[in-house]
Symmetry: C2
Subunit: 362 residues, 2 copies
Amino acid sequence: MKRRAFLQAATLGAAAGTIAKPAIAQSNPEIRWRLTSAFPKSLDTLYGGGETFAKLVAEATDGKFIIQPFAPGEIVGTPQAADAIAAGTVEMGHTCSYYYVGKDPTFAIGTNLPFGLNSRQTNAWLYHGGGNELLNEFYAKHNLIALPAGNTGAQMGGWFRKEIKTVEDLKGLKMRIAGLAGQIMGKLGVVPQQIAGGDLYPSLERGTIDAAEWVAPYDDDKLGLNKVAPYYYYPGFWEGGPAIHMFINLQKWNELPKSYQAAMRAAAGYVNVDTQAKYDAKNPVGLRNLVSNGAQLRPFSQEIMEASLKAANEIYDDISAKNPDFKKIYDSYKAFRNEEYLWFQVAEYAYDTFMIRARARG
Amino acid sequence: MKRRAFLQAATLGAAAGTIAKPAIAQSNPEIRWRLTSAFPKSLDTLYGGGETFAKLVAEATDGKFIIQPFAPGEIVGTPQAADAIAAGTVEMGHTCSYYYVGKDPTFAIGTNLPFGLNSRQTNAWLYHGGGNELLNEFYAKHNLIALPAGNTGAQMGGWFRKEIKTVEDLKGLKMRIAGLAGQIMGKLGVVPQQIAGGDLYPSLERGTIDAAEWVAPYDDDKLGLNKVAPYYYYPGFWEGGPAIHMFINLQKWNELPKSYQAAMRAAAGYVNVDTQAKYDAKNPVGLRNLVSNGAQLRPFSQEIMEASLKAANEIYDDISAKNPDFKKIYDSYKAFRNEEYLWFQVAEYAYDTFMIRARARG
């Protein structure tokens, strides 16, 4: 209630019946928000993004705007976070848009689509390709607004108990994989499973499942899946550059002083680059650990990649035919991807190719 | 003087003899700074980074901390910017560390070294690999502190009047290329030239020079060099992921309220991701324009790349032997690069490779 009183004072431009305050205080109300993180504290890079965000906003507002991060389940579970934020039960969350594909498949595009944009291209589309505007037009229908606030880079394809070389090898395979990626794999004969991270080790050990995707070496190394499912495939083509977002209740966002909105936008940008940087700094260490502890690195075969791309495109066409929001945003995303790889294949790819080969030669 | 009075008030926690202010105002003093940009307004992505930064800081501080950007030469020229900031003539600048290699070659590493880290890896090193700490320890000796605030991604190798295939073809070539990149090319027989962007077209047209490097397609397209030097080489191995920085006078930074420092750190992070995103969104358009107007894309030959890498490593060893600051920071940078490409060659590179080939097949 205190927060609301301050907000009214700021909105009305008057002290609104409370103790008279100097004019300057009206634009710096004391506000306390809660942030529900979709990520367990064990995923310290992702959970830490919410903490870094809250700290920067608090510092930039001289301690006036305090946002307290909570782990999943402390206020609300990850699957319920979007609804809870939209309802105002919690003011904001740090989460992935694609967790909410059950509400509408259009939510998937906010994070990334399988065979979509890589990390840098995702930011290019969001900040300068119309992506943020298109997504926020859609999110507004759900009483939400989102700020990009993190990316993992291309993830790994996950852990398999046996080698898989052909699409035939995928038939009947029980794999922990969710969302559109699960639908794509389902088209190839995989039986998608929904299992929490903490249950992956025993499930793979007992053979309840045959495979599981998680994140990338830094996070994967914590789970020790290399001991029970040693074949470590790449790339995770369903997560070539997934964005993490700050989701915010739209009314509560609109009620904020402009200065607090600016502090949040700036802090989200910082967290965006900082999260990718932390993953990029930590993943090499995870990869070394995993390989020295028996992980067998394997690329997905061209056959599996191509069959998956075909299945993905069929799914996107099916959804587009039924869902105008998806179609509108997907058309922008797809056209942008075509342009991005036109350019990335030149200087960026040639540079990385030379550097990778030079490193291999020592 | 007004600014200083406010700062003292904030520092002393008292009104310091001026008109009594409410307590809250003491931590939000009115401050005006100037920012000298190293980039002409025609490089709108880079110059715009300074504007975006200033706008975010002003908004986040509720109009209390105003930073006004100036184009090169309006206050001080780009080559003199670091000295002017260190002296306090201008409070801060948006510039590239490697413009100041004449003061100390260690400045080069802040931006990037030829055959160094790519854009994401640069951020990984700066934010989570000890890079920011090492650089700021060095910059402090020059009375400066720096915040990463932009990257261009891998640049192009520039414009050549004739095709070059071998190191022999480089002998005697007059090329506009500066800094360590110029030294490397010099070892291969190139005669490095220093020419301003606006003079490149007539210099290439008249044959005063044979080649010129600039930035990447979006910026290069504005100069029209394709008409006078059609061979457009890649990658610009001397700029695989160059960082742009906000350089700030160290005393003036230390005198700022913590809230203004936080607003600047957050805004610099936002500008970092935003600048890279804008280049990535604009470069495909520039590339299409250039190729449709006669630019002939050519990769540097393996022979030229390898000879350049060898020359670069010799130069780094020479400088390291003489300059302990360079050696300390280069050793960190080099070890980090080795780790980064260990990881990037797996999921990230495999993903881009598949996507580039899938695009080529349609």
